[in-house]
């Protein structure tokens, strides 16, 4: 069925001159759990403003790669640079403070806080409130307005004061993305943002992702090839812990190695 996919024209990614570091650059990154290698020497350079998709069969190490980049786990060796600065092995909150935000494959929200409070938590650090205990959070105009703007974008304004735990699945997925993008991070990692969604919900999610990542760098793991070919400027194919190809969608689509390793065997 791969033939039926309409391949989007590659968006012109800003040319990364020698003086401008990549938004994200991985150099020979390895990760083993015990004796089992999961990531086996991944190198990847993602330009600023690029929308980059990582695809690959189950168990290829896509989520592990995200966990390494976002600081959930530390790489065994290798270098990970965010805007030219080394972040490999740093704690997640330090990486987040440098402008990297991620979403999760399994919805990861604050169920007992309201939808608005969920988003607001995501903007507090970036607005410089740190561990403030002298101001009322309801009176922080910039934080509340930023949260309301994000709510508007993810179309959850009507659910503003609802506890996040009672939202529908699709709403929680949207909130997940909202928390991720609300803080204005320069680099957004989305882990299977459309997993478990109906076709209609997926279409909405693609529009949402397109609008909230405008002017930012996006890296996403996604199984839905429609979404990938629709959104991505470039695609990397991860198979068994190694990137076997990185290219624009049209060429990935026609790449023999990719087709035999992945696209050909899948029903995508």
């Amino acid at each position: 069925m791969a033939e039926t996919i309409a391949v989007a024209e590659p968006r012109s990614a800003p040319a990364a001159g020698p003086a401008v570091p990549c938004a994200l650059e991985l150099t020979d990154v390895h990760k083993s759990f015990g004796a089992t290698p999961i990531i086996r020497g991944v190198s990847l350079a993602i330009a600023r403003g690029e929308r980059h998709a990582i695809i690959g069969p189950n168990g290829a190490g896509k989520s592990t790669l995200f966990n390494l980049v976002s600081g959930r786990i530390a790489p065994t060796r290798g270098s990970i640079r965010l805007d030219g600065e080394e972040i490999a092995g740093k704690r997640a909150f330090r990486i987040a403070r440098r402008g990297l935000a991620r979403s999760f494959q399994v919805t990861n929200i604050f169920p007992r806080l309201t939808v608005h409070e969920n988003i607001r938590c995501g903007v507090l650090w970036s607005l410089g409130y740190r561990y403030d205990f002298l101001r009322r959070v309801d009176r922080l105009r910039d934080a509340n307005e930023a949260a309301d703007r994000t709510l508007e974008q993810i179309r959850l304004t009507a659910r503003r004061d609802t506890p996040a735990g009672v939202l529908t699945y699709a709403e929680q997925r949207a909130l997940e993305i909202g928390i991720t993008v609300a803080g204005g991070a320069k680099l957004i990692l989305l882990d299977e943002p459309t997993a478990g969604m109906s076709r209609h919900e997926t279409e909405n999610a693609v529009e949402l992702i397109r609008s909230v990542t405008h002017d930012r760098t996006l890296v996403m793991v996604e199984h839905d090839m429609g979404v990938v070919f629709d959104l991505a400027d470039r695609i990397s194919v991860l198979v068994y812990g190694q990137v076997i190809a990185t290219d624009v969608p049209a060429r990935i689509h026609d790449d023999e190695a990719v087709r035999s390793a992945y696209l050909g065997d899948s029903d995508a």
């Binding site: 929200i109 604050f110 938590c121 009322r136 928390i179």
Partner: protein, 416 residues
Amino acid sequence: MTPQGRPAFWIGGAVLLAVLPWIPGLQSDFGRSLLSQMGIAAVFALSYNLLLGQTGLLSFGHAVYFGLGGYAAIHLLRAVNAGLPIPLPLVPLAGAVGGLAFGIVLGALTTRRAGTIFALISLGVGELVHATSLMLPSFFGGEEGVTASRTKAPAFFGLDFGSQVEVYYVIAAWLFVAALLMYAFMRTPVGRLCNAVRDNPERVEFIGYNPQRVRFIAFSVAAAFAGLAGGLHAINYEIVAAEAVSDTRSGAVLLMVYIGGVGHFIGAILGAVAITWLQVSLSDYTTAWLLYLGLLFMGIVVYVPGGLAGLLMMHLAALRARAMAPIARSYLLAAAPALALTLGAVTLIEIAYRRSTQPEAGALMKLFWIPMDTATPWPWLGAASLALAGYALLRVVGPRVAEAWRRAGEEIHARG
């Protein structure tokens, strides 16, 4: 909006605190002493709610900060007795400072982990401090504790704090201030992050916050207010002993917050009032009061996870939605079986307790104004059948109450 979100809650609370010691029945020294104890317990329980209810930290050693704050205050009071010119109402602040200092030192170690590990470490720290308090008599005064006099202090607007009602007002004023400050803390950015850490500590890391730091801040603040409660305890009793840091006291505050309703601001206050009242009053009526307290705790945890405050909120919501009438009818239906079950069970417990703990008192006893001979099988059989009949009927009527609530829930949802 929660009740504590309205100014009326705070104004009403202040008025209530002011008039309570003049209400008939509470005017006696006993009544005012009970109110003072409730006030101290309320500050302590609110501080524990900050940990457990707001930040999700289950501590088995919160009395450590209550007790150490108490020792700090009682030592300051001794210095005041020796001539240091500090008025008595400010002495409890030494408790807050002491609680905060120990909270910072011990919190830096204990809040690195959350969940079960944190709970177990808190238990260990509690035992450690309790053991230390018995080993260092120069500071802790050993088993007898440290005493001081609250009346030997500089006069404060002509008050010498010799009477219970004067001390009550000091406690009430601090309770009001502490409750307001803790409520305000929860509404700051870091207060909301405490909730976020409670809900999902991992996600907090990915929005730029260190959950360990958030836990540490919540822990230190909770320790400061626990210390303030300890300082109030010191001026109320004029003695602080090893019991103040004991696991019994740590357990009591856990019961208060659970029975009152974890996470509910007013729950901590309701729980503190209820448990203090049970501790003081029920123990006059029966030696089995701890058993009843345990049964109440179990019943709340199993059947009413929202505690007393949760119950209160449910009923207020039903009242507001005008959906209370069918619920009240189902309650009327359930009242008789519930009463029968309670009377039967209480009778069994009381006669069993009497037989096993006071055999010298003989087989004849009076319960609920009924004389009975516990050497014969009749009181046992009567009580057991009463309890069983009540239980059986409750099984029948119980679903009706549940059904009434389910319908009321739909009603509330439709309106809300």
